[in-house]
Symmetry: C2
Subunit: 412 residues, 2 copies
């Protein structure tokens, strides 16, 4: 079955185009100052009147007025006349909007073979994009910083003259802690425990946040994608490993220590297959690249292709009817179904969104795999969608991260 | 190793006594009307001034004043003078408090062998308690309603004259949906899909909410226990099965469909041991009563004790050095460690609180089991505590549920 198979398309949905509507806040509003709640409410509404703002935030109009006046005076909000409508005293009603052109933020994504970048305005609308190939030897931090600086220069050159860039978000696979800005480990980097946010901020001259792939995807879904209408959803991504992002009550859930949701290292068999993390029985040890490659020698009759081409060869053999090769993908698919079922059993999300560049190994995402899930969940599982974002989804998520982190600084 | 072993006590903590301090709100305040946010803030603070209230809620004092005046006029709040202190103009400062004696709520718990009940005031202070033995034949809804009515009558008789009882919470093991009030299935009931909240409400003449055991324990931890100081924690309980309750940002997380967090039915082995739910490889199928009893015949040399005494006999044999009996508890302990590790891997909670009447089978909770957890988590696991509540913990959780659900009605 190929990805063009209509049976697959039936369960796959495309991401909304970027900037297709209002943004929502990335954090529960209860913990935020009124100034920020007002600004984010205006941004999420697109256009809103003062009266509706006070009503939606459940505060008195009197407490909204001075804050809005200040945000107008500092040009963070602007007033728009709703031409064609009639308000009080026969004049067009005036609504508030975010001054989108006041500043820009950059979203930067590092993957094994490519860098991608997006520049968006304060309303989240993309204004420029850029890419840069990534060499296999770019595994050191100095080389990474050189590459990121070149990527960023390309992005600025594409954008031309414009408002200032006030912040950036950078994402890569691995264990990146958003709160501390540290890259603890990444499969595409040689160093460990690097203050990556500090290094990149200094190199680019703009405040930069970092996060891992799964959280970038989650931010992209939350701000631009299928998750906008949902309060509670899960994003599962398969690249080097199996990542999970969670949204609870419209906000990304990062755990108590920012460790990320390590779905890939949940144990699905006691004393099971050895994982790269050194433990046994992890879901990743049955689903990730290295797990499939491990068994490839058997299926390929000992004819091992050059490093980097094993998985493609195995996939081709499986499509050509090699039963052993097919069995490898089948088992991986069943374990993936088990992982998705465990997410459904534990979180009861509104939806599970399955995303990642591995989608070309479509055995993993075939209807057969998805059909296994209900037999592994106690209740009916939520809809599971395969979301076919373009390659810029990561950069888009990084830009959402940057906007989310810029807002308190912008309003300070 | 017994539960009195100091090595066990080192990791076990006792629940705080009931009513030992302020209560916190059970829902994130952002989604609540200002009137409720004010009332719940006063309740959670115990005593608070108007100025501190406005500051904590980040609203203007002007918007607090009329709401407080109304809550004072309707006797939901009261004013107290802080005698001994001096406020503005030389008079003692005035603080606000909840009128705790305006009404009571009841917490009711059904377990296999006993009913327990607690009456608490609007500040959560217990004023009466009652118990009633439960006969094995009480598996029908009419019989349950008779029993609950008798339990409630006992509770009221113990309390004597007092303020009106305005609501109740009722909990039992199984699949109970708090939002719809339905009992979908319970291991101690014959019927399925019963509108239990409606039935109990009509029989007792008071509005009653229902919830499952794990959520009751979670509410008890959140309102009265170890969870009061924590923003994100997990409660794992073993009774008939393995239950999980989650608190995210100080509020119980119930999932998108109220299905509950089915940790017991997460799959820990593909095509593994058969579970009561009909699926294979569930954590429960390795940890719960029935899983231990299934293997008992081997360990007990075919000398099967009467039904209901198998686990006790197996436990006695394990303590007496029967290696096969010990192996049964050892494996269950390892699987429990795996389940706890998966909770840590996925949720990254501040703490995991382990609770439930099974604590007497202390092999499961021994240091050896807890020592397994770090080898099964990618990051350092959070502290895991065994919380030795008394038998009224369930009723206390049910009372917290009732208070939480009463508040909007009280303020309407």
């Amino acid at each position: 079955m190929s990805l063009d198979d209509p049976r697959i398309n039936a369960i796959r949905t495309d991401g909304d185009p970027p900037g297709c509507g209002p943004l929502r806040s990335a954090r529960p509003s209860s913990s935020l100052p009124l100034r920020q709640r007002i600004y984010e409410k205006v941004r999420s509404a697109g256009r809103i009147s003062r009266a509706a703002l006070a009503k939606d935030l459940e505060v008195s109009p009197g407490s909204v007025t001075p804050v809005v006046s200040d945000l107008l005076a500092t040009e963070l909000l602007c007033e728009l006349e709703d031409v064609g409508q009639t308000g009080a005293r026969g004049r067009p009603p005036v609504t508030l909007a975010v001054r989108a052109d006041r500043a820009l933020v950059a979203g930067l994504k590092v993957s094994d073979h490519e860098y991608s970048a997006l520049l968006v305005d304060l309303a989240g609308q993309p204004v420029a994009r850029a890419t840069l190939p990534r060499a296999a030897e770019s595994r050191s931090v100095p080389r990474l910083l050189d590459d990121v600086a070149e990527l960023y220069a390309r992005l600025l050159a594409t954008a031309g003259d414009g408002p200032p860039v006030l912040g950036a978000g950078l994402g890569m696979p691995g264990m990146l802690d958003h709160a501390s800005g540290r890259m603890r480990w990444s499969p595409i980097m040689a160093e460990r425990d690097v203050d990556l946010a500090v290094c990149v901020s200094e190199r680019l001259g703009i405040e930069t946040s970092v996060d891992n792939d799964a959280n970038l995807l989650t931010m992209a879904e939350l701000w631009f994608g299928k998750g906008r209408a949902l309060s509670d959803f899960a994003v599962v991504t398969i690249e080097y490993g199996v990542g999970l992002g969670l949204v609870v009550d419209h906000a990304p859930y990062r755990g108590a220590h920012g460790h990320g949701m390590e779905l890939g290292h949940t144990k699905v068999q006691l004393d099971g297959a050895l994982c790269r993390c050194g433990q046994r029985g992890c879901l990743e040890a049955y689903v990730a690249d290295f797990a499939l490659v491990r068994e490839a020698a058997v299926a390929l009759n000992g004819e091992i292709p050059p490093r980097g081409e094993v998985l493609e060869a195995l996939f081709a053999q499986a499509k050509d009817g090699n039963a052993a090769a097919r069995a490898i993908f089948d088992r991986a698919g069943r374990y993936l179904a088990l992982g998705l079922a465990n997410v459904a059993n534990l979180f009861d999300p509104n939806r599970i969104i399955l995303s990642g560049s591995r989608m070309r190994y479509d055995f993993l995402y075939a209807e057969e795999m998805l059909a296994e899930v209900p037999g592994l969940t106690l209740n009916d599982p939520p809809p599971i969608e395969v979301n076919a974002w373009d390659d810029f989804v990561w950069a888009r998520g990084a830009a959402a991260l940057a906007l989310s982190d810029l807002t308190p600084r912008l309003l300070a």
